[in-house]
């Protein structure tokens, strides 16, 4: 049983960052910065659980989308004229453990088949499991640098290419990357920060009444999960529908030059490296408009999107506090 997404108290920014990624996965993920005990992993799990089921090829280790990119095995079957069997599955949260080996991440030679039959086959890794799912990396700043590189490469390309131990294999690896980090426990290199589409800062709630609500909901869920889910079902299905509608609407959302110039003027003024930030901001703005059921992006979407897409891309000394940058950004937006 999973705690319902809509029953999470507060943390609106984080919820928004996750939802826009679900509406448009090409936004390239979310980095959640903040203290422990702020419902980060609860929120990701809850959102995956809320989303509607989608079709997948039955028993495919890559969870292939019958209508989308296929892994080599499914592609071969389809080419041979076979009708691929389908199942409906929920999105999952695949977790990347900190101590993971490269083998386990990208996949490697299937040792059983190799010994038994002397054949070389690919044994899928975490990136295969993550295809069309969430890939959740807790404390991504503590992951070995070379693994972060591998991970972000796959995330950007949407494919995982393995060339090792006589194995040559490529499979789709389109996942929504969600990383968390507590900046007090080590930084993430700027070039890696830049690869995360959006970022949110989360803080624990310090208002006693809301905290009471947190405890009550958690206790009530633990006591009687079924009853609790039932009470929240209406809110859940309403959000589920909004997200589905937004997904369908996304490509029809239009943007004007004015919107583009707004984004670019802020990013140049802030001295943001590269173009990833601009693109992420535009896509996030589009997803926000779609979530609101509109076909045009408005200024408020852009402002909100910039708050999600720029903070981690600011040129900064490692010692500047996030708050300070936030203020600069806010003063620009409020001009």
């Amino acid at each position: 049983m999973i705690f319902p997404f809509t029953a999470i108290v507060g943390q609106e920014k984080m919820k928004e960052g996750l939802i826009v990624n679900v509406i448009d996965p090409s936004i390239n993920g979310l980095l959640i910065m903040g203290e422990r005990g702020t419902a980060k992993s609860t929120a990701v799990r809850a959102l995956a659980d809320l989303l509607p089921e989608r079709p997948a090829v039955k028993d495919c280790p890559f969870n292939c989308d019958p209508e989308g990119d296929l892994c080599p095995v499914c592609a071969e079957r389809k080419a041979a004229g076979e009708k691929l069997p389908m199942v409906m599955t929920k999105m999952r949260v695949v977790e990347l453990p900190l101590g993971i080996t490269e083998d386990r991440l990208v996949g490697t030679l299937d040792i059983e088949l190799a010994i038994k039959r002397g054949e070389r086959h690919f044994s899928p890794g975490i990136l295969a499991e993550a295809n069309r799912n969430f890939l959740y990396v807790d404390e991504v700043n503590l992951l070995e640098d070379y693994l972060v590189d591998l991970l972000l490469d796959a995330a950007a390309m949407g494919v995982n290419t393995v060339e090792r131990e006589g194995i040559s294999f490529t499979h789709p690896a389109r996942f929504i990357l969600v990383g968390t980090m507590n900046p007090e426990e080590g930084e993430l290199r700027p070039q890696l920060l830049d690869r995360f589409g959006l970022v949110v800062d989360v803080h624990a709630i310090v208002d006693a009444e809301s905290r009471v609500e947190v405890i009550k909901r958690k206790a009530s869920f633990d006591n009687d999960p079924r009853g609790f889910l039932k009470r929240w079902e209406e809110a859940q299905s309403s959000l589920r529908e909004r997200i589905s509608r937004a997904r369908a609407l996304l490509t029809r959302v239009k943007f004007t030059d004015e919107i583009l110039y707004k984004i670019v003027s802020v990013s140049t003024e802030l001295g943001i490296y590269g173009h990833r930030g601009d693109i992420a901001a535009l896509k996030a703005a589009r997803a926000l408009a779609a979530l609101d059921g509109r076909e045009s992006i408005e200024l408020r979407d852009v402002e909100e999107a910039i708050r999600l897409a720029f903070p981690h891309r600011l040129r900064k000394m490692p010692f500047d506090e996030m708050d300070k940058e936030g203020k600069t950004l806010e003063s620009l937006l409020n001009r």
């Binding site: 005990g37 977790e95 002397g118 054949e119 131990e165 803080h203 405890i215 206790a219």
Partner: protein
């Protein structure tokens, strides 16, 4: 006296420890407990006791420190797989522990991958944890603190009857032979299911946690669960505010606990024979001379010192990339991959993988046929190069003419340099009567910068105490990370005037310096903060540097302009 708690007759004193064990045994939702304390306080013994409290069907599994990944997670059973030709899996420790308790001794030394497994299972509520930690061996990961309901600091017993009792207890182990404790726990577990929690108790919990300055929502939940267990222990069916109050001090500890930030009394490093002379350590760090007020100075101008550690960095890379014969012999370091050439350090799984596709062709019947060309060897890389420990003089004399602002600027400049080279950093400050660890080793330069900003000055100059703190830190870290190199950066004007023993400051320092120089893989850098234009300059720091065998710079010389000299100086 509380009947519930005295039920563990074997455990002497240590009421908090007993209570924590009982609560965890009753309600696994309490997360876990860490028992911390110096060697010989019975941490492990106490942690073991939990087994005697639990219903027999609850799994109780110990994770050894050097647990392999296979053992932890389960993995391919090579022997049986090769014999049968089928991939057979072994059950990992964690899987066996589900629904029960995991015991880890010295959790601060546990490997990252084992730690990850623990965290995940803790988050899923699949296991609870009972762990011990020795503060001197290094900090407990804060991810663990976050998920522990209770923290208990164990102390040594001073009084004789208690000590005698401990010995008796050690001889005949079985504490709860009459099974009373176990029965009590079992009954409480039953009551827990029907426990009622009134709204005002929840409010009281939220308010108490906030009043403690803690923001993680996990703390509220743990406090609630602990209060429920406590109520159940006392035969109640409703949680009262008094129950919350009774367990509060167990649950609301700040992280990391103070014991980790301020090391206990400095050990008699310079003078073995002066036990009992640390009495003055207990005095508040108050100034007795010079400036009489604590002040916090802002961080002064920073400057570029980027090439300062350059020669050291080059050292590090050569050990990362090229393998010198000595390093090839050692099997230290992290396995980063496999190679075709090597000597003894065979990578078994890679070797088997390489051999696997040829087995049919080679005519395997029972065991695997491995040829020379299949052999694979580990390629290892050393962990990040340096731990830079800043030992900063924060005495009153540093505040004269705002010297501290410039000093903070210099330290900040060095910190930026560390950030650039991804060194780990730690900070020790000494002032008044003692030294304190402002920041245990971390890779977060941001945090170091914050601690630097907040550092106050005032009081006397216990330079020796500062050095001892750094000494202990190096010893503890060197044990954990055999590849780590250390740089102790001593920032001071050298006017030491407090000793840790009865000995005069300077003769104590001479002995201490001799000891420091024997530290493994450690370089020293002394940054002299004295105003050299002053008529009263003493150049004491220069003497300190000479005795430590340290490189020595006057603060103003650290700037980029003087780089050439520094580079020539260090690392030779």
């Amino acid at each position: 006296m509380m009947k519930g708690i005295d039920i563990l007759p074997g455990m002497v004193g240590q009421k908090r420890a007993k209570l924590a064990l009982l609560l965890l045994a009753i309600n696994p939702h309490c997360g876990g407990v860490v028992f911390s304390g110096p060697v010989g306080t019975g941490k492990s013994l106490i942690a073991q006791l939990l087994r005697d409290l639990l219903p027999t069907e609850v799994p109780f599994v110990k994770i050894p420190l050097h647990v392999t990944e296979e053992a932890m997670w389960g993995g391919l059973d090579f022997e049986r797989s090769l014999k049968t030709g089928k991939a057979l899996l072994t059950k990992g420790i964690l899987e066996r522990a589900i629904g029960g308790i995991v015991l880890v001794d010295d959790i601060n030394l546990l490997s990252p991958s084992a730690l990850y497994g623990l965290l995940r299972h803790l988050d899923e509520g699949a296991i609870s944890l009972v762990a011990t930690a020795n503060p001197l061996a290094g900090p407990v990961p804060s991810a663990i603190w976050e998920r522990m309901g209770f923290y208990v600091l164990l102390e040594e017993f001073e009084d004789e009857p208690n000590r005698a009792e401990v010995i008796r207890f050690n001889l005949g182990r079985n504490v709860s032979e009459d099974g009373k404790a176990r029965l009590l726990v079992a009954q409480a577990r039953q009551r827990l299911k029907e426990m009622e929690v009134p709204e005002e108790v929840i409010k009281a919990i939220a308010c108490r946690v906030l009043a403690h300055g803690i923001t993680s929502h996990r703390r509220d939940i743990y406090l609630l669960e602990a209060a429920k267990a406590y109520a159940a222990l006392w035969g109640e069916n409703k949680v009262l505010e008094a129950h919350v109050e009774a367990v509060k001090s167990l649950v609301l500890f700040s992280e990391p606990p103070p014991a980790f930030l301020t090391p206990p009394d400095p050990p008699p490093a310079a003078s073995e024979s002066t036990k009992g002379t640390h009495a003055h350590d207990a005095l508040p760090p108050g100034p007795r001379q010079g400036r009489s007020k604590d002040e916090v100075f802002e961080v002064g101008a920073t400057f570029e010192v980027r090439r300062l550690f350059f020669p050291m960095d080059r050292l590090r890379r050569s050990s990362d990339g090229r393998r010198t014969p000595t390093q090839a012999k050692k099997q230290g370091g992290r396995q980063v991959g496999v190679t075709l050439t090597g000597k003894k350090d065979i990578a078994l799984s890679a070797t088997v993988r390489a051999a696997a596709p040829y087995q049919t062709r080679r005519g395997r019947t029972t065991s695997l046929i491995i040829k020379d060309e299949d052999l694979r060897f580990w390629r290892r890389a050393k962990k990040t190069g340096h731990l830079v420990i800043f030992v900063t003089d924060a005495s009153g004399s540093m505040g004269v003419n705002r010297r501290m602002a410039a000093t903070k600027g210099a330290i900040m400049s060095l910190l930026m340099d560390c950030y650039k080279y991804r060194d780990r950093v730690a900070m020790v400050a000494f002032r008044g009567e003692k030294a304190s660890v402002l920041l245990p080793p971390t890779s977060s330069v941001t945090l170091a910068a914050r601690r630097l900003r907040e550092m106050p000055v005032g009081g006397k100059t216990p330079l020796n105490a500062g050095l001892i703190s750094a000494y202990e830190m190096v010893v503890a870290q060197a044990r954990r990370m055999p590849e780590m190199r250390f740089v102790i950066v001593l920032v001071t004007d050298g006017r030491a005037n407090v000793s840790i023993s009865k000995e005069p400051v300077m003769s104590e320092f001479v002995k201490l310096a001799e000891k420091m120089r024997k530290l493994p893989r450690t370089d020293f850098l002394v940054v002299d903060t004295e105003d050299k234009s002053s008529l009263l300059k003493t150049d004491r720091a220069k003497k300190v540097a000479a005795l430590l065998g340290a490189k020595y710079f006057v603060m103003e010389e650290l700037g980029a302009k003087k780089i050439a000299d520094i580079v020539r100086g260090i690392g030779t």
